[in-house]
Symmetry: C2
Subunit: 153 residues, 2 copies
DNA sequence: CTTGAAAAATGGAGGGT
DNA sequence: ACCCTCCATTTTTCAAG
């Protein structure tokens, strides 16, 4: 596992905020020419430091403006129930994130819904038919103050 | 606000998963030639459906493998205290997301730390010096089962 | 790392249905 | 409105030094 120097970190930071920067633009910001920057970026991709490049879609513009953190407690805690839950819940298009967590609940889901009615339908009809779920607790997002999508380097 | 057709949605979906796709590759997937695809993508960018393009960085490879959801209750609930809290907490590099939420707590933070010791330091020394905070409750992520970063179209 | 050049993609012009 | 083909420009990509 090769070490990263200052320049690599800076490149990750730049691309983590804006991946449309060209090699030329990146080069200018790290005081190099495009070629070594190209090689560094390819190395960062190849070694998995950069996982992928994506476009961020505006969820509000697509009528998915309601964000809910949904805490879930399983009925039982054996491995197979947990596995069933994860595979069931990842099928649901409203669920964009799923974490196995410590504490009172077993899982935390981030859910996007059009509105309250849609979320109600999600809880009763979709989560309601996932057998492994014991109970749920929903926390509604009133305002997203920040989401940087990446660690802050 | 112009409506989106099937093709636009498909383009958003494709770019939301992989923004390295070229106009040519996108064109092939939606059965068009590169030019109209180019125009559509520029329109989606211009109208804000696509907010930005970013590289996703592997947090584990950068020694930020511990994810914590930190619930925070403010001391008081006036607007200025809330504003102070947000501006203070967004300065902290460990905090990548911040939500104003309903329920027992006022805010939910997503925090990345190197390890438990680092998180302990974050809670005691960094959050500890934010005056507006009343109490906190940390939920530790044991496994990230899914994070799609975008709504599922 | 630099230079430099081939291959590929972008971004428009102009025209067709 | 929407699409196409063609082409100049820019960028990417990869030699060789």
């Amino acid at each position: 596992m090769p070490e990263l120097d200052e320049t690599d970190i800076k490149l990750l930071k730049l691309l983590g905020n804006d991946s449309t920067l060209t090699m030329k633009e990146l080069a200018a910001r790290v005081n190099l020419s495009p070629s070594p920057v190209f090689e560094r970026v390819k190395r960062l991709e190849g070694n998995g430091y950069i996982k992928k490049y994506i476009a961020l879609i505006d969820s509000e513009k697509l009528n998915q403006g309601l964000i809910i953190f949904c805490n879930i407690r399983l009925k039982q805690h054996d491995k197979s129930i947990g596995h069933d839950f994860v595979s069931d819940v990842l099928q649901l298009k409203e669920v964009t994130e799923c974490y196995n967590i410590s504490g009172d609940y077993d899982f935390l889901l981030k859910v996007y819904a059009r509105n309250m009615k849609h979320y109600q339908d999600f809880v009763f009809n979709k989560l309601g038919s996932v057998k492994s779920i014991g109970s749920t607790h929903s926390t509604f997002v009133m305002c997203e103050n920040k989401n940087s999508y990446n660690i802050n380097l």
